[in-house]
Amino acid sequence: MSQSPLSFRNVSMTFPDGTKALSDVSLDVAKGEFVTIVGPSGCGKSTLLKIASGLLEASSGEISVDRDRIGYVFQDATLLPWRTVRRNVELLAELHGYDKEERVKLAEDAIDLVGLRGFENHYPRSLSGGMRMRASLARTLTLKPPVFLFDEPFGAVDEITRERLNEETLRLFEQERFAGLFITHSISEAVYLSTKVHVMSARPGRLVASFDVPFDYPRHPDLRFDARFAEICGQVSLALRGAHS
């Protein structure tokens, strides 16, 4: 297990003001594994990702993460408004000191991968929410991150866009086979994307249940209408309700 690109052992987090955000969380994400955490809002899911990425330091516990070229997709697209899509996508490679030629190539590939061809020279303000999120994904992809953290990335887009972005995230995962840790409060999104779903309790966040999702990749959108899919969603939902009380 020590080989996992991302591993948490008994991680707890208490903020300086005394708020207990996480309590004794242990989890592993192996390469080629897509792990999702669902939980009520404010349960500390985002805190978990901040700790994984190193933006926050845990109060206790052991964390091992491959943080070189870490991929972090934020709740908001966080595109720089003064840069075109292309220049936004190039940003991370720029920060990591890649030379111009390599940067441009990586950005071109990533733009193709998320289907933003034709919008490279647009500024973020002229893009829809879904397209901004795609640009944000593309930006993260340029680094080919071994660990991919998603902090409720599709929470703010409409249902149709969300489903389409789910398809695209799946495609990226199938292609790149990174170690993915995804935060959401949508149960069907969680089951649809993941190899494993963890349920987190209300604050302080603890993992109270885990479900393996047995479907093979590549997954087809029709999976959402499968009886077994519904069953797993039901189980997760039940566990989530238990976690609420």
Partner: protein, 297 residues
């Protein structure tokens, strides 16, 4: 928070200068109207007000004022024929304007450099901001007339002192707006830069400085106007060397030359308006593509 909230809308960037109106007013959604209608809609109303003002001016000058007291407010056509159409008078005024424009230019330039420097230093650490900010406020709060004698006393009654007045007047909006702008990049973007181990300089150059631009321009527009005022005030009190528009205003007032006085006032206002428009235009050119178009008021 919706993704849309993340669009960096400069209309939200308020200039925080004490007492001054926020100037980063943006026009949005104007494209719905046909171009002709919008031009008529934006030109006709101010034109109408202009006509009313001229009417009131004539009315006061020709009807209210006794002919013996008409020098207090000469009618517009007199101001035109004596102040603008008479080349001798006009050239004197233009020379004065040129002198004051140079003063305003140097004052603004120094204020910009100094203001950027202070804002950048303050943006780097809260403690530095806390240390310096009160003095920026004090500088702003000092009535300029109160320290004019002191400035003359220390720096003489010529060009340098006039420029200094401009700097003192124009500095604060630049410092405050630039600082506000530098600190306006949202936390998510800072997190992104932190994750990818950006150093201080990279963060400043790639994130904070571009994010600051809309606010910086709002500050520049205020300061440019203030700098023109500073140049005139400075010139009014420091008469050594070249004769600026301030000296002329004083001279015309003393000689009861109402027409020239009015013409000078109009010229000085025109200078203030043009620097304001210039920075609006510049802002539109440089950041309009991503930050919305400035209306150039």
């Amino acid at each position: 928070m919706s993704v849309d909230d993340q669009i960096h809308d400069p209309a939200d960037v308020e200039s925080v200068q004490a007492g001054a109106m926020p100037l980063a007013v943006q026009s949005r959604g104007a494209s719905v109207q046909s171009r002709g209608a919008s031009v008529a809609g934006s030109v006709l109303p101010p034109l109408a007000v202009g006509v009313i003002i001229l009417g009131v001016w004539y009315f006061i000058s020709l009807v209210v004022l006794d002919p013996k007291r008409r020098f207090l407010l000469q009618p517009p056509h007199e101001v035109w024929s004596v102040g603008f159409a008479d080349w001798d008078n006009l050239s004197t005024m233009l020379e004065g304007m040129w002198s004051s424009t140079k003063v305003a230019f140097w004052g603004l330039l120094i204020a910009i450099l100094l203001g950027f420097l202070l804002a950048i230093v303050m943006s780097q650490a809260k403690v530095v901001e806390r240390a310096i900010f009160p003095y920026a406020v004090v500088l702003q709060a000092i009535p300029i007339l109160a320290i004019v004698p002191l400035i003359g006393f220390w720096f003489g009654y010529g060009f340098a002192s006039r420029v200094l007045v401009c700097v003192i007047i124009a500095l604060f909006p630049i410092v405050v707006n630039t600082l506000f702008g530098l600190l306006s990049a949202d936390q998510g973007m800072h997190d992104l830069f932190t994750l990818h181990k950006a150093n201080r300089l990279t963060r400043l150059r790639r994130l904070m400085f571009p994010a600051a631009l809309p606010a910086v321009f709002a500050g520049l527009r205020i300061s440019a106007g203030l700098s023109v005022i500073g140049a005139i005030v400075g010139d009014f009190f420091f008469g050594q060397g070249e004769v600026g528009i301030g000296q002329l205003l004083k001279r015309y007032a003393n000689r009861l030359e109402g027409e020239q006085l009015f013409a000078s006032v109009i010229l000085s206002s025109a200078l203030g308006v043009s620097v304001f428009l210039f920075f609006g235009w510049l802002s539109g050119r440089l950041i309009g593509k991503w930050a919305g178009e400035s209306r150039g008021r």
